[in-house]
């Protein structure tokens, strides 16, 4: 019986010890964890200083993607209505966030540094279609609250 009391005291001892320690649990969503700036989350499409898209729709990201999550459709811009910095631009740029494995190969393949993986990782939706990020969505990367 003495053995039992000892073990219980030991257990309670570590409990009371832990009560005084700082907590590992983060009270999400009120509080959020810090991520490394190199964390690979949701994609974004960057623009240059003049507001032109960097993406020229070359499709290399599409070619390199191991999960076939990217679809790019390119087109020629009308005269005087340049979308990107050259006459070719991406009309459609879609990333299927369900398929994406966040390997970052698209970012690595991009010759114009247009595709970047942001640290944003709050990917949830009640509809599968909502998980396909279109170009508009990728051009306006979400900011973490």
């Amino acid at each position: 019986m003495f053995e039992g009391i000892k073990a219980m005291a030991q257990g309670l001892g570590s409990t009371f010890h832990a009560l005084g320690q700082p907590r590992d649990t983060i009270e999400y969503p009120e509080k959020r964890r810090e991520y490394s700036p190199r964390f690979r989350g949701k994609h974004m499409l960057a623009k240059d200083g003049d507001g032109h898209e960097l993406c020229v729709g070359c499709g290399l990201c599409e070619a390199v993607c191991p999960a076939h999550a990217i679809r790019v459709v390119a087109a020629e811009a009308e005269d005087g209505k340049a979308v990107s910095w050259t006459n070719r631009y991406a009309v459609d740029y879609e990333v299927d966030m369900i398929r994406c494995i966040f390997c970052g190969m698209c970012e690595e393949a991009c010759p114009t540094n247009a595709v970047r993986l942001t640290p944003f990782n709050e990917l949830a939706a009640s509809d599968r279609l909502e998980m396909i990020a279109d170009k508009e969505e990728l051009l306006h990367p979400p900011v973490r609250k």
């Binding site: 020229v56 729709g57 070359c58 499709g59 290399l60 599409e62 070619a63 679809r71 790019v72 390119a74 087109a75 020629e76 050259t86 006459n87 070719r88 010759p111 114009t112």
Partner: protein, 773 residues
């Protein structure tokens, strides 16, 4: 034969072979830009440098012919250094814009730089800027910065096609490829320079920025626009055909396409494409249309008995689909009235049908009523190829207009279409009096007056008989020619080949499927319809009003039939008579066999989904079979391929009976000032194309330059008023030096309605008011 060693391997090749070709035999890849087997050696790009023992410097493999005992090294330090240097020079002014270049991923400059090139260039100076995306014409773009000056395009257009529309301009690093006088290139074959260009300099305008090698699929298919049936590759992306490329077949075909075929793939997406089912001029569901048609068929059969439904095949269907229609007609609709739509009366038995091999071996070529440049353009290129290797090629044209041209020079015999057979028969009679069947042939036309002198007729007959290898191209206009050709083939001991250039494109395939493609057959079917024996017409791609030479018969048959069902891709001219218009899947949407003018079977793959309600033939017949409560159309027991024959159809069965006399042509009405002649022209084959719109002209009819001057028609054509028996119509006309005076040429099977209303043409006059285009 010469023996030499390449990279330690011995190879034996014929004399005159270039090192690169000898290496290719061993599977040794020597990088090349400027050299192309069809175009010959040039040595402009210096990419193919190889080391030959006992030669002090590296030599170009594409211009050095092999010699006995030669020892060649395509690898090793010296060669690698040479290639690195060449590539570094080629890339000095290259913009390195691969991400925006359409060729990216299928570019030899990329591939060779990756494999043999230097890691980086040492050139620091700014690159020379040149024209980017400038036009060669509306279909081909040129990016002069990317050009490596291999001159393949210039040589192709100048030497091979014979229409010098591209040239090199400027000197040194400023040299650029451009068009003559900076005017758009107008040749029929400009699209081939896209395939020929080893880098991203020449680009297809409709494919511009549309696809990348990794997001497209390539389906090997057959071009459906003319009876040549060029082997090609259809590029599809997301169930859309976005490009057509030539597909070379080793030892047989270089993979050239004409612009009509290369850029005319979009008829399936044209705004005119029928995508809805129409019953009694009202759009309805596919299921309802199928039910209605089945009900009509049952009703007709119940009321008038078996054989009261007539089926006419036309369009660009596959042989398998023709077989399904034939089988459905026989098994379910209880009718053997199945015919092939024809727009000319001639028919060629398979025994006389030559192959394209006969063109590459011919020493005499005769065009009977057909100008291959317009009707079957790639045949013209094949003949140009022959002319390059055999400059004595004798070209003879027999027809109502000049059929030879600057790029295919020869002698023309101008005789009316109806006199062609008489001309041939008389020529044979003059040259071989005692030949079998010759006297019978000319029996009734001995004293018929021809516009050609007797000496010329005899010379022509002699040329036919003396030819070592005679090839004839025949447009099928004059039906009596079949008889003459059979006698001619019997007279000659040396090879004689005839290539029919008439349509529909897959008529040989329909014949293989068991449908009689003779004109008599379709004529008989329509006569039965006119007399009321056949009560219902099912037109599978056929457009009677447009195609049938006897327009009156077509209209009467259509008007008399109780029900006319028409399965079409684009609205036919029969439209006012049609009770049910069914949208049907077409080329590119159905896999099947096409048989071309040389009787060769090839498979056209299916790459895309048909739009809207369009269904393949199989779906229609299977559904009708179900509605008739007959199990039908689900088993594939028929295969047009016969393993004993390979991919050529059987030439056996020339049980040609005794020769028959050529009928005496009816006398022409001398009071008529104008003669109307028809000819095949691929641009006007009835298939609409948005891409080719800049190439299309409103002025499709043609008159001689003298008549054009008289009518006040400008350089690019103009409108004239044609006064005919039935009233006045406005037609677009242009001048063509191939047309003789007082003759109006119109394209056969034109989509233009007026082309059907020119009977009894009295005169052409300059219109008072010119309609705006």
């Amino acid at each position: 034969m010469i023996r030499l060693t390449i990279d330690g391997q011995e190879v034996t090749v014929p004399e005159g072979t270039m090192i690169v070709d000898a290496a290719a035999r061993l599977g040794v890849d020597v990088p090349v830009y400027c050299y192309h087997q069809a175009l010959g050696p040039l040595g402009a790009c210096r990419m193919c440098l190889v080391q030959v023992e006992k030669m002090p410097k590296l030599v170009t493999g594409c211009t050095t012919a092999v010699t006995e005992g030669m020892v060649v090294h395509t690898k090793g330090g010296a060669v690698e250094k040479g290639r690195k240097g060449v590539l570094e020079f080629l890339l000095i002014n290259h913009p390195l814009d691969c991400p925006v270049c359409d060729k990216g991923g299928e570019c030899y400059l990329q591939d060779y730089t990756f494999e043999y090139g230097p890691g980086r260039g040492r050139f620091q100076e700014p690159k020379i800027q040149k024209v980017k995306n400038g036009p060669i014409n509306d279909l081909v773009l040129i990016d002069q910065e990317r050009c490596v000056l291999c001159q393949r395009c210039v040589r192709f257009m100048g030497d091979y096609v014979g229409e010098e529309q591209l040239l090199l301009e400027g000197r040194g690093v400023e040299t650029v490829v451009t068009t003559v006088d900076h005017q758009p290139a107008t040749s029929q074959f400009t699209g081939n320079v896209i395939d020929l260009c080893p880098v991203g300099a020449l680009l297809s305008a409709p494919y511009y920025h549309k696809g990348r090698p990794w997001n497209i699929d390539r389906h090997s298919t057959v071009c459906p626009h003319c009876p040549v049936g060029c082997s090609s590759l259809a590029t599809t992306r997301e169930s859309h055909i976005i490009r057509l490329e030539g597909r070379p077949v080793p030892d047989r075909d270089w993979g050239w396409l004409c612009d009509r075929g290369r850029f005319g793939y979009d008829f399936g997406y044209h705004a005119d494409r029928i995508a809805d089912s129409w019953v009694k001029e009202r759009a309805t569901s596919a299921a309802q249309a199928t039910r209605d048609v089945a009900e009509w068929m049952q009703q007709t059969n119940a009321q008038y008995g078996p054989g009261s439904i007539g089926f006419v095949m036309g369009g660009q269907f596959t042989a398998e689909e023709a077989h399904l229609i034939k089988k459905f007609a026989h098994d379910v609709a209880q009718s053997d009235n199945v015919a092939v739509m024809r727009n000319v009366r001639g028919y060629l038995p398979a025994a006389l049908n030559g192959t394209f091999q006969d063109l590459t071996e011919a020493d005499t070529v005769v065009f009977v009523g057909v100008d291959p440049y317009e009707a079957v353009p790639v045949v013209h290129l094949k003949l140009r190829d022959r002319l390059r290797h055999f400059s004595q090629l004798k070209v003879l044209g027999v027809g109502p207009r000049r059929l030879t041209r600057d790029t295919m020079p020869g002698r023309d015999y101008l005789v009316a279409s109806q006199d062609e057979a008489v001309f041939f028969a008389r020529a044979l009679a003059a040259a071989a009096k005692d030949g079998p069947g010759v006297q019978t042939l000319v029996d009734s036309v001995r004293d018929y007056v021809l516009p050609v002198s007797d000496a010329d007729i005899e010379a022509f007959g002699q040329a036919l008989l003396d030819a070592e290898h005679l090839s004839l191209l025949w447009d099928g206009e004059n039906a009596a020619m079949a008889e003459v050709l059979a006698v001619l083939a019997g007279l000659r001991e040396k090879p004689t080949a005839v290539l029919p250039t008439f349509g529909p494109v897959n008529w040989r395939g329909y014949e293989q499927a068991g449908i009689d493609p003779r004109y008599d057959n379709v004529e008989e079917l329509l006569n039965k319809t006119r007399t009321g024996e056949i009560r219902m017409l099912v037109l599978w791609g056929a457009d009677l009003t447009r195609d049938l030479p006897d327009r009156q018969l077509a209209e009467q048959a259509l008007a008399k039939a109780d029900y006319v069902v028409s399965a079409q891709v684009v609205p036919p001219l029969d439209m006012p008579y049609i009770d049910a218009l069914l949208p049907v899947a077409t080329w590119g949407e159905v896999e099947g066999t096409y048989v071309n003018m040389e009787g060769r079977l090839s498979i056209g793959a299916a790459g895309v989904q048909p739009p809207g309600q369009a269904r393949p033939t199989r779906t229609y017949v299977a559904n009708w079979g179900r509605l008739f409560r007959q199990d039908f159309g689900l088993d594939d027991e028929w295969d047009p391929f016969d393993s004993a024959q390979g991919d050529l159809i059987s030439r056996a069965g020339n049980n040609h009976g005794p020769a028959q006399a050529v009928p005496r042509p009816g006398t022409r009405d001398a009071s008529q000032e104008w003669t109307i002649i028809e000819g095949d022209w691929v641009m006007e084959n009835g298939m609409p194309s948005e891409i080719l719109e800049p190439r299309e002209t409103e002025f499709v009819a043609r008159v001689s330059p003298e008549d054009a001057a008289r009518l006040g028609i400008g350089e690019h054509g103009g409108y004239v008023e044609a006064q005919t028996a039935g009233g006045t119509v406005m037609i677009g006309v242009q001048a063509d030096p191939a047309i003789v005076e007082r003759t109006l040429w119109i394209p056969r099977g034109s989509r233009h309605d007026w082309a059907q209303h020119l009977e009894g043409l009295v005169k052409l006059t300059r219109p008072e008011e010119v309609p705006s285009v």
